[in-house]
Amino acid sequence: MTAPIIVTLTVNGEPVSQAVEPRLTLVDFLREAIGLKGTHVGCEHGVCGACTLRLDGVTVRGCLTLAVQCEGATVETIEGMTESGAMKDLQDEFVERNALQCGYCTPGMLMSAAELLERNAMPSREEIREQLSGNYCRCTGYQAIVDAIETTARKRGALGR
């Protein structure tokens, strides 16, 4: 029935197995069931991008994915990506450029930006803005965020990464 279902997945490299209600979204599972609060929640219907995280290597909306859909899946959150250092340069550039103020949008922004740079090593500002169309920031006005992503791409290019 609507009774909990056991779901087994990998979160930031660690195996996790828990009984969850089918209606529990992935972002609520991460935040409330396992205490990883780095992934934020805003609109809860897919519009704002605050809940953006990685599922099986690609970004998804944590609010539009049910935890029960993640059986056998690999989830990476901002905590895991920070710990591994996978986007340290991008994070440093966000700080350098003041690309965050309140920080509410930042984990989702970083997830979207990191994916863009993986798929397109030297995106134009236009392409960066297109990618960020799914991530709302109510503080910075985006200019600094676009700058930070563009600069990261240039620096990686110069380093041959």
Binding site: T2, P22, R23, L64, T65, E115, G134
Partner: protein
């Protein structure tokens, strides 16, 4: 405020049989879950409150993009990202590859599915218009058997299709683009990823130097994708650069009254339809050679 769906039961189907048994037992109290990019927001907002949700993502029969004889078959569960990056789609149905980047945002395209978009039948959606313009055929199954429906019979209204509650969309077949095929796809939206204020999926073939089988299909202007047949008929038998776009635009104005929505009036939508039509015809004329 926190949003939370009403409680429901969840089943992960392994086969079409599994899906049928849930649908047969629960009727319209059951909902198919594909990419979830329309269903989960509806659950969160309690616009949908099914008793049971059947996840079809692991059903083999719904996956895959293949060429079978003279059609391109796209499995209903193919995610947008897969369709947008498929060589077969790029070669045989380039309009679809062109249309997908207009849908939503990357994280939603990583998850949303081709079949989910068609079954959701949002009148502002890109893919239903492509399906109609390309004369796609829908393969539908239930415990009672299989049937095929033409795109022109599939869409019945806003969020309404010819699917019965016990039926599953399995795949969609698109006739292969032949030599001499022209297509044009464009939309006007306020921001990247927003639903269109008006959009156009147009296709035609050049045979013996003149246009044949021309179809202008508009979206976000009616309660379903709208084939502008009077305007399309004006293109038949004419060389691509040889006619006056204003005559075609006039035919649109004479035959179509767009449905206004919350943000865009009927007059604005008609204006945008004309803008898109001029762009399409200019594009076709440039490909004359």
């Amino acid at each position: 405020m926190r949003l939370k769906p009403r409680a429901f039961e969840y089943v992960r189907a392994r086969s079409l049989q599994d899906v049928f048994s849930v649908l047969d037992a629960h009727g319209d109290e059951a909902k198919i879950l594909a990419g979830g990019q329309s269903l989960v927001p509806a659950l969160n907002l309690r616009l949908a409150a099914p008793e049971i949700v059947v996840d079809v993502s692991a059903v083999e029969a719904l996956s895959g993009i293949t060429v079978v004889d003279d059609v391109l078959r796209i499995g209903a569960m193919s995610r947008y990202i897969e369709v947008a990056t498929s060589d077969l789609v790029a070669r045989h149905a380039p309009m679809i590859a062109r249309a997908i980047p207009y849908i939503a945002h990357t994280a939603i395209r990583n998850r949303g599915t081709f079949g989910g978009s068609l079954c959701n039948a949002d009148p502002a959606s890109e893919l239903p218009a492509c399906a109609l313009a390309l004369k796609a055929v829908f393969n539908i199954s239930s415990s009672a058997g299989e049937r095929k429906i033409a795109a022109s019979d599939f869409f019945l209204g806003t969020y309404t299709t010819a699917l019965e509650p016990n039926e599953v969309l399995v795949s969609v077949e698109v006739p292969l683009t032949g030599p001499g095929s022209l297509f044009y796809f464009d939309e006007v939206a306020r921001r990247q990823g927003d639903y269109a204020m008006a959009g156009l999926a147009a296709r035609a073939e050049v045979r013996g130097g003149v246009l044949a089988d021309a179809r202008l299909v508009f979206f976000a202007v009616s309660d379903m994708p709208l084939a502008a047949s009077a305007a399309s008929a004006l293109l038949e038998g004419k060389a691509p650069g040889s006619f006056d776009a204003e005559v075609v635009c006039e035919a649109l104005a004479q035959t179509i009254v767009p449905l206004e929505d919350l943000t865009t009036s009927s007059a604005t939508k008609l204006h945008l339809m004309k803008v898109l039509t001029r762009r399409a015809l200019t594009d076709f004329a440039g490909k004359e050679a």
